[in-house]
Amino acid sequence: MPTDTIAVAMSGGVDSSTVAAMLRAEGHNVVGLTMQLWNQRRMAGREGMPESVQGRCCSLDDVYDARRVAQQIGIPYYVVNHEERFERDVVRPFVEEYLSGRTPIPCSLCNNHLKFDQLLIVAQQIGAERVATGHYARVAYDDARGKLNRKRWLLKRPADLSKDQTYFLFGLTQEQLSRTIFPLGDMTKPEVRELARRHGLALAEKPDSQEICFVPGGDYKRFIDAYLAEQGEALPDTAGELVTTSGEVIGEHAGIHNFTVGQRKGLGVATGSPLYVIQISGANKQVVVGGEENLYSRALRARRVNLIAVEDLREPMRVAVKIRHRHEPAPAMIERTGADEILVTFDEPQRAVTPGQAAVFYDREIVVGGGWIV
């Protein structure tokens, strides 16, 4: 019987609940932890936000579900509060990125700053050397026998590619990976639900969460309004011109945070052919629009790079690059062009490369690394 202690990050959903039940059944000492990251009632009713929110992450309902699972499988369970840190490292940057004309990914920031940082610290403090989560991904140690890698922890895509969450995990360091386990990496979602049923978990049929946990209903514009109002800050005036790719002004817009690259609806201008947002310029508050053909780019630059499978990128490397969560990795070359910058050159131009999103590099199922698109 194993005697190690594993902390399971429990969200109250099927995946992490099943992880806790699995590890418990294997005989590990399991401690359930839920991170209280955001008070869902905080924005309720403000600036048109919904009065009540149902079943969102960090809601009382989810904490209740996680606690019931912990009681059922017989493990100690605790809620740890990281609301301040979440607001500082995830919510604020989320708002600021939109106001700067970028399209952020709060889930990656949360993984980097909360789940695999603060939670690992708490876990270690309470005597758990490793943390398990319900992410669909795999971790493996390369013992230097592979041709590419030498004694490094690897992040790999999961068996169920339709649930692949490696895109959100590209920021994990070697130290973080060495202390992380993803028990669902070899399973498909239906298998996980079946296992949850076999463990008698009442939430086996609970629907998956899809949206950003602190933006109920997915209306991020309303959220930004509500958040700034709550903070007593005025919404910065980011209104400006709507221009074509050739620089012709064809209208005005109410604020750059209302747009995302590739967006077609809600541009407020009528033309013969469909128009798309091609580029958002935070500096001069311009939104550049054009035809679909203008949406394609052959290259992008990524900064704040984290490399996982290799220690450094000394020479150009052939990889496949994913530029948003729902994107099939596209063949490309990556090369270092600065101390903290990587140039990605695609074999085929890619649609809607969006600043603020991540570019994650894959060598088959292995995550080589990634960075933030600028």
Partner: protein
């Protein structure tokens, strides 16, 4: 794993004698205390015996005791029963939420943040020791002041407030004076006439009676509006069939508490608490007692362990078998920095690094030994892994 329970300010175990006293009232003694017949007479007698015991603990007459569902109801009954819209209320920043929110609701019909409160409520500050200044009470008085509500002992620090002085001020001004004595009852001798209060709340489960029963003392001559309407129970001040087993338990616990205080058990409790406190401080650097300069109830010590996260310490200790707590927990079980410690002037990080140890009648010297064996090591481990501590260590 041996489990040690040092969270008696959260709740206490029901003492075996209390449980035995209650047992018949779940079974053969089932009558409704309002019934005319034999069964009713039996339970009526039990309820009135319990009332005598509670009155004896508080130094009042039995007719001045109203049984409630607990401390929160007692606080709400006192506040809502004495205050009307338009009245001015004086309270303190370290009250339990049962009082603070009851006051806000009674006066403003809304639970607002403290800083948003308008003129009808004065929330008095406390000093670094956690004490209300009676002169502040005097200065806060207005022509329409109806109620002063200041707690006897704080639930987090155990600090005892200068109630007799506040009572004199209330008396001179002709203002009602309520005190939440939930954390003081059974721990120190209480005499309502010496305090000069018009109303005083206690809770059963803080004094080794079960959860779900409490009492409010309301002095003769003080008119109080009920919260519940219905039958003429509790002299029409609290409608609803009596919780007889709970009331019997509260009566027994009050009787045992009175006997204990007469024997001087509180001195032994204080000695045990002091040994725990001094033992910890002797082994842990950069730690200190919150409310050290003030008089405290004998069972409580609240210690800040700088550079760590109190939440993690509570979890780590629980996994080793020691139950203690941080500040007040919210409904999801997560922690906001304690409003009491913040009001005393602690930095938010110090408030978050604070742990409350609270002893009960069942606590043994061996429990203290085991706690002393666990706490310093656990704090050391947390500090070793704490980014806050490393930063401080590097910069010093």
């Amino acid at each position: 794993m041996q489990r040690i329970y040092l969270d008696n300010n959260a709740t206490t175990p029901v003492l075996p004698e209390v449980f035995e006293a209650m047992r018949p009232y779940f079974g053969e003694q089932f009558g409704n205390a309002s019934s005319i017949h034999h069964h009713g007479q039996q339970t009526r007698a039990a309820v009135e015996d319990a009332r005598e015991s509670v009155a004896a603990l508080l130094g009042c007459h039995a007719s001045e005791i109203i049984f409630t569902s607990g401390g929160t109801e007692a606080d709400n009954l006192a506040v809502a029963g004495l205050v009307e819209t338009g009245d001015h209320v004086i309270t303190s920043s370290i009250e339990h939420h049962a009082v603070l929110h009851a006051v806000l609701h009674a006066v403003l019909h809304a639970c607002k943040h403290l800083e948003e409160i308008g003129g009808e409520v004065t929330v008095l500050p406390v000093d670094g020791r956690g004490l209300v200044d009676p002169d502040d009470v005097r200065r806060a008085l207005r022509p329409n002041t109806k109620l002063i509500s200041v707690m006897m002992a704080n639930n987090e620090t155990g600090v005892l407030q200068p109630l007799e002085e506040i009572g004199r001020i209330a008396d001179e001004a002709g203002v009602c004076f309520h005190t939440d004595a939930v954390q003081a009852a059974a721990k120190i001798p209480i005499d309502v006439t010496r305090i000069g209060c018009h109303a005083l709340s206690i809770s059963g489960h803080k004094i080794h009676a079960p959860q779900g029963v409490g009492a409010l003392y309301v002095g003769k001559g003080t008119q109080i509006q009920p919260l519940f309407y219905g039958g003429r129970h509790e002299r029409s001040r609290r409608a609803g069939t009596e919780n007889v087993p709970g009331i019997v338990g509260l009566g027994k616990a009050a009787q045992l508490a009175k006997e204990g205080l007469d024997r001087g058990d509180d001195k032994m409790m204080a000695a045990m608490r002091d040994r725990l406190q001094q033992g910890i401080l002797a082994q842990v650097e950069e730690a200190g007692v919150n409310g050290a300069g003030a008089e405290r109830v004998p069972n409580t010590t609240n210690i800040h362990f700088d550079h760590i996260d109190g939440e993690a310490l509570v979890i780590a200790l629980d996994l080793k078998g020691l139950a203690v707590s941080t500040g007040a927990a919210c409904s999801s079980g997560a922690i906001e920095p304690s409003h009491v410690l913040v009001a005393m002037g602690l930095r938010a990080d110090q408030a978050r690094a604070s742990i409350r140890f609270s002893l009960g009648k069942q606590t043994t010297a061996e429990d203290i030994d085991l706690a002393l064996a666990l706490v310093p090591d656990t704090v050391a481990r947390l500090r070793e892994l704490s980014p806050m501590y490393k930063r401080t260590a590097l910069s010093s």
